[in-house]
Every structure is written in structure tokens, then in C-alpha cells.
Symmetry: C2
Subunit: 288 residues, 2 copies
């Protein structure tokens, strides 16, 4: 069963007749294979999957791409129906607010912030971005009444910020993270990739390639000795203005890596022309 | 049935065996008749009442009375048992976190802010106070799993801020407000009243007396003509430094009063020695 809902009021009516556990996939639409892998997982694990499609103004900076961000609801619904067709007896509800007012009605004033972890990496480049994310995600958690929510690992910091909020506030929802989906050339799938010209895309591959290079050095038998080489890559990259950041952090909490760190994440943000792309790699540390 | 719980873990175990709707009375303890009227109401309306007792450090400013705030758990439990004894077949659970870490464990980073309404009146005098309130109240809503929460009208702005948060975030909880409980001399009941010497208490009565005076003028037949007199009271009061504020606001949203306002609230904060007291009066406007 497929259903498209455009108003919270209608979502609430639907809730009244639904008694099954709900899996939530919050998106900004313009769905790609990455999103669909989240939907597939949710369909697998829940009787009811709720996909939200909302381009959230609060998470865009004043000079960012809110206006241009691709809005393709009809095609998104087609893709979701195709995904649903792979299952039987499952229900998929799309909640695509008819307008921004539906989510942020007149007088809306609440902001949820997660200090510290929201202020580094993407948070440093995009002030207020994660406040916008946590505020809308929290709201979506509540109006969706979901028991599980699915996020992509591409937005690694986002997932960590949301997990912190869920833990701090004692929200009754499980957060599940799925691996990054990549195109054949290695670029992580993103709605923003379509902003890239063929030439720009070639340049964008610097991002996954550099992350892979560091990953290889970290997982090599002699990784303790690779430090010099890794630092050289970091230094060279950061002298290139296209890199917003390139960092190696404790994967658990995005703090600095310490001798107790057993898993690191290599995170990069790389700008080609006006398009800002992010990517990351998780690496387990095997101490010799 | 009466139960005292000191850890969230134990609260969660209790939740697992409870299937009844829960009424929540969040307090900072040192219970007085005002709190007990909230507990009484909740006992009346719910099979299970959860009273939380937690002196929340986040809602105190650095120079405020967090350290001195009276902590009287044993006596509070006695009073609650007495209240419970007025009912039969009801359950009252006290959740009094054993330590601050129970509510704010290591790494806690989330802050909930309600813009605008949090920044006026008490919010202007006590920067960050309402962020502390909304953060803890939201957390308590979640860990209590309550369907209704009871607050006193004395903290009128607090109730309005919380209502805004509940609305904005789509929280599934009813907020009920009960009238201000007063001592015989007219002073609103507050745990902070015990800081007052006999002399200071006499001085503190300026607060309820002034509010009553304005209320009388507003409800007089010729209230439109009382404007001059009201303004004189406001002016005189505000030239007296003991008044932190004395304002007449739209009771609905604490905005400025407009020709569409049908209910106003007169709010005052008055400081005697080091003790800051608040009070308010709700007044329906009957246009002639």
C-alpha cells in the first residue's frame, strides 16, 4: 500500500488507524540509490515505512543552495513505489509537507542545539546547520511516531549529532546507519552531484580518492609509521582552498584521536565550483 | 501505592510493568501547598502520578541560589504520602535523581531554546534560565512517558515557553495549568519565601498588592479611563530598583497588548534583599 500525505492533520488521521511500528526515512527528496537503500532496509524491518520529503530551510545558510535544491516529488514517488513493489504486505507512506508552514507554522520558535559536536567540521563551515537539522529531525521524530529511523553514513557527523540528541533527551527511537552508496567512479551519491559538470566531477573525485589513500595508509601493517605520510597528505590538502576540511577523528564521538581510540573516521568536505561535497571512511584501528 | 525511585534505570524497569496513563508533576522539591494542589489534581485525573524532584542546575544563573535552594526529600515524600492517602487505588511514584549526573550524564550536550518568548521578562533578568527549563522539562517528559503534565500558574512565562515547545515539536503531552496558591497575607507560595525575614516578607507584599491594584483598575467599569492611573503605578514601580519588571502583556503569547487582546496578564518580579519573587494576575478584558 502506497500513500502520499501533504498535511500533518492528515498524517495524524492516518496515525489514528495505524497500530504498527513505523520505520522513518527522513529525506530532502530527489531520491537516489543511497536513499533507496535506507527505504529498502526500513521496508525489510518494519510493516510500515514513513518517508518524509522536506527541503528544510533551517539547515541551509543564507548563501547556500536552498532555492536551487532539486525538488522532484513525482519522480521520488515513482522510485518509492518501485521499491515498495519488491515487497508484499508492506505499507509505505510518503509525508511531503505541502508547504514550509506545515512544519514551521507562524510563531514557531523552538531550536534544538547540540553543543560541541555541532560546532566542528561541517558545523564550523556552516554555522547553524546542525541546529536546523536537529530541530527538524526532532520534530519529524515526534510527528512520525516512528520507533526506528534510518540515516546514511555519508552524513556521519549528522548521525552523531542526532544520536547525541536522542541520548540526551531520552527519545524513544532507534537510530540505524547504513553504509555510503557510491557511483562507479567512487563518488558518494548525493543530490548535489547533479550540480557538477563532467569536468567538475573529475575534480570532485579528489575527495574519495584522498580519503581512500589515507584509509589505505591507516590500515597498512605499518600504519604507526604511516603517520608522516598521512600528515603530508593532510597538510598538502589543507593548503588547497577547495578543501573545507580533511580530518581524522575518533569515530565514536568525533573527538580528537587518543591512544584509547579503536575506530577512527576520516572526514572530508571538498568544494568544486559552488558545489560542496562531503564524504568519510570508517577505519578500525588494530593495535599491533 | 507509593514508590521512590532514584535512577533512570529503575524508572525504566518500572515503566516496563506500568501500562497506565501517567500524570507528571515536575518540581524542584521543597513542596508546599501549591505543589500539592498539582499533585492532587494529577491523582484525581490519572491512575499513576509521577512527581519528579530535581533541583536543575541548568536553570540557575552563576550568581543565583542553586547551592542554597532547599532540599527536603524526606519531608517531601511524607507530604506526598499524605496527599496519596486522600485517594484509594492510586499510584504515586517519586522520581528524585540520586545525582545531577543521572539527568545530565557525562557528555550531555543538547540545549532546547524557545526564541522570543524566552528572552523577555524573567528571561531578560535571568539569561539562559528558560533554556535550562525547556531542556530539563523536555528530558523529563521523555523519561516520564507522561500523557499530561501539571504546572502552576505562578510561573506563567515558564508555562507559555513550555507550551510553545510542545506545540513546535509536536510533543504528545497535555499541559495543564493550575491557579496560584497564596498564603493568607496574599504572597504567592514559593520555596524561596523561606529566605525572607519577617520584615522582608512585609516588604515582599508590595508585589501581590501592586498586581491587585492594577487588576482592580483593569476590571473597573471605567478601565479604559484607568490607563493614566495604571501608567502612573507602572512608572513609580519601575523607578524603584526592587522591581525587576512589572508589565501587562497579552496572556496568550506574552506579546504586547493589542486591540485584539481579550485576556491580559499582569506580571511582576520583585527583589527583596537577595530574594527574587515573581507573581502574576490574569485578567479578562471585557470591551464595553
Amino acid at each position: 500500500m502506497f500513500k502520499l500525505i501533504r498535511k500533518i492533520e492528515d498524517l495524524n488521521s492516518w496515525h489514528a488507524s495505524n497500530s504498527k511500528a513505523i520505520g522513518l526515512v527522513p529525506t530532502m527528496g530527489n531520491l537516489h540509490v543511497g536513499h533507496l537503500s535506507l527505504v529498502n532496509k526500513s521496508l525489510n524491518e518494519n510493516s510500515v515505512t514513513l518517508v518524509t520529503i522536506f527541503v528544510n530551510p533551517k539547515q541551509f545558510g543564507p548563501n547556500e543552495d536552498f532555492a536551487e535544491y532539486p525538488r522532484t516529488l513525482e519522480r521520488d514517488c515513482e522510485l518509492l513505489k518501485e521499491e515498495l513493489d519488491k515487497f508484499s504486505g508492506k505499507e509505505l507512506v510518503v509525508f511531503a509537507p505541502a508547504s514550509t508552514d506545515e512544519i514551521y507554522p507562524d510563531g514557531f520558535s523552538t531550536i534544538i542545539s547540540v553543543n560541541g559536536i555541532s560546532e566542528i567540521l561541517c558545523g564550523a563551515d556552516r554555522p547553524g546547520h546542525f541546529d536546523g537539522v536537529t530541530t527538524v529531525v526532532h520534530r519529524l521524530f515526534n510527528i512520525s511516531k516512528a520507533s526506528t529511523a534510518y540515516f546514511g553514513q555519508k552524513d556521519y557527523q549528522q548521525v552523531k549529532v542526532i544520536q547525541r540528541m536522542v541520548l540526551d533527551m531520552g527519545l524513544q527511537i532507534d537510530i540505524k546507519t547504513l553504509p555510503i552508496s557510491r557511483d562507479e567512479d567512487g563518488l558518494a551519491r548525493s543530490s548535489r552531484n547533479q550540480y557538477l559538470t563532467t569536468e567538475a566531477r573529475q575534480m570532485a573525485l579528489t575527495l574519495p580518492k584522498t580519503l581512500s589513500q589515507i584509509e589505505k595508509l591507516l590500515t597498512s601493517d605499518s600504519w604507526l609509521n604511516s603517520g608522516v605520510e598521512i600528515n603530508k597528505i593532510l597538510e598538502t590538502s589543507l593548503s588547497d582552498k577547495r578543501w573545507n576540511y580533511l580530518e581524522i577523528k575518533d569515530a565514536n564521538n568525533l573527538n580528537e584521536v587518543t591512544p584509547n581510540t579503536n575506530k577512527v573516521v576520516i572526514l572530508g568536505a571538498f568544494k568544486v565550483d559552488k558545489t560542496r561535497l562531503i564524504d568519510n571512511r570508517l577505519v578500525k584501528i588494530n593495535y599491533a
